[in-house]
Amino acid sequence: MSHHLFLLSPSDTPIYSLTHYTSKPTQTTSYPLSSNLPTWSTSAFAGTLTALSGASSATQSHHVQGGSTKMGGGQDRHVIQMIANASLDMIEEVMRKESAMYLKSVDKFNEWTVSAFVTPGNMKFILLHETKNDEGMRSFFHEVWELYLKTMLNPFHTAHTPIRSTVFDTRVRASAKKYL
C-alpha cells in the first residue's frame, strides 16, 4: 500500500513529491472494465489506459519501484501524477467556499482517495491514499505545513520553486512513517 504526496505551487507547478510505502497489506480489488478493453489498448498508450481503467497488467511492473509490495491498478507514476493534477479542479472548487485548510477526501478515482491541505499562501499539498486514516493525515499535513513554512523562511529558497533540501525530505519521510 502506498501514499503519494505532492506539493503544488499556486501556479500548479509541482515543487516536491514523495511516494511512501507502508507494509500494511492491501486488499486486492479487481475492476471488470479491464477485460472489456479494445484491442488497440496494446498501443503506446496501453499502460496508461489500463491503469486508468483500474486494471493490473503485466506491463506495469517495469514502472513500479515498490519491489515486493503487491500493486493494485493505476500505480504508474504518470497516472498518479495525473490523478493528483486532475483533483486540482475539485480542490479549487471547494477552497473557494470552505475556509478549512484541511480538505478531507475532495476527490476519488478508482481505488484512490484524494485529500488536500491548502496553506494560507495558496500552496496545495495533495495526498493520494487508499485507506481511511483521518487523524493520521491531519497530523501529517500539519507537520508538512510547518516544514514547508521553515523552508519558505530560508532566505536562500525562492518561493514556489522546487524544494531540494535534503533535511526537508528526511523530515517529511519521517513524518510519513509516523502518521501514515
Partner: protein, 242 residues
C-alpha cells in the same frame, strides 16, 4: 558552508600564524587540500566543532520569542541601504517603486504563512480567510501588528470606484527617518509595504494591484495611503459568495 567559512577565515588572520603553520606541518590536514585551513583551527581552540552547534532552520521554533525582536535602528539602516541600492539600478520613480514593491512581495508571502501559522497551528482545524472584507481587516490589524508591531490607522472604501480600498497609516515606521527630496516628491517608500499587502492578498486569493501614496496632513506629515485596486474576478467571486 560558505556562510560559516567567511568569518572563520577572518578570525584566523587575527589569531596569528602559529595555528595555521601547525596545520601545514600536520600530515592529516595536508591530505584534505580543499578544506578551509581555518576550520580545524577553530575546532581546536574551542574544543567542539562550531558547525554542529549552529541549529538547522528546521530545528528552530517558529513561535516568536522575546529575543526575536529586531532593533528599529538596525532596520532603518538596512532599509536605507535597500533604497539606495535600488535607486542606483533604476531609471525613474515608477521603476523604483515597482522594485520596492517586488521586494516587499517577497516579504509578504513569508509573513502571511508565518502569521497564520502562529495564529492557527495550535487549532485542530486551521482556517484560511475566504471572504475579502475579513481578509482586509486582518491585513489592517494582524499583518500590521506582525510587521510593524501595531495596527494600521484606518481602512477606507473608495467612493468613486467600488474595486478600490485604502489602508491608512499616519506614521509608517519604515518612513520615519526618510525625507524624500523635492525632485522625487511623488515617490513613496511605502511601496515596500504595498508589496507586502499585495503578496498577502495574492496568497489569500484576492489578486490586486497595490500602490502607496503620500497623503500628508498638517498633523501627520508622513501619512501614507496604501491603495488596493482589486481585480474584477475578486468582485465577481464576492458577488457569488454573498
Amino acid at each position: 558552508m560558505q556562510q560559516y567559512a567567511q568569518p572563520h577565515s577572518r578570525s584566523s588572520v587575527l589569531s596569528g600564524s602559529s595555528l595555521s603553520s601547525a596545520e601545514h606541518l600536520s600530515p592529516t590536514s595536508g591530505s584534505a587540500r580543499f578544506s578551509l585551513p581555518s576550520a580545524p583551527s577553530i575546532s581546536t581552540t574551542l574544543g567542539t566543532p562550531k558547525l554542529a552547534l549552529r541549529p538547522n532552520i528546521y530545528d528552530r521554533n517558529l513561535n516568536k520569542t522575546r529575543t526575536a525582536e529586531v532593533s528599529a535602528s538596525a532596520f532603518a539602516f538596512l532599509f536605507s541601504e535597500v533604497v539606495q541600492y535600488t535607486q542606483k539600478r533604476v531609471s525613474g520613480i515608477n521603476d523604483l517603486e515597482r522594485r520596492l514593491n517586488t521586494l516587499g512581495y517577497r516579504v509578504g508571502i513569508r509573513v502571511l504563512e508565518l502569521m497564520v501559522w502562529r495564529a492557527e497551528s495550535s487549532s485542530k482545524a486551521p482556517k484560511r480567510e475566504v471572504r475579502f472584507l475579513p481578509a482586509l481587516m486582518s491585513i489592517h490589524t494582524q499583518v500590521w501588528r506582525a510587521v510593524f508591531g501595531r495596527p494600521a490607522d484606518a481602512i477606507e472604501k473608495s467612493v468613486e470606484n467600488e474595486d478600490e480600498y485604502m489602508i491608512i497609516d499616519n506614521d509608517p515606521p519604515i518612513e520615519r527617518h526618510i525625507s524624500v527630496p523635492r525632485d522625487l516628491n511623488t515617490l513613496s517608500c511605502s511601496s515596500y509595504t504595498a508589496g507586502v499587502v499585495e503578496a498577502v492578498l495574492d496568497g489569500l486569493g484576492f489578486p490586486a494591484r497595490v500602490t502607496a501614496h503620500s497623503t500628508p496632513t498638517q498633523q501627520h506629515p508622513s501619512r501614507t495611503t496604501i491603495l488596493i485596486k482589486l481585480e474584477k474576478s475578486v468582485l465577481e467571486r464576492e458577488e457569488v459568495l454573498k
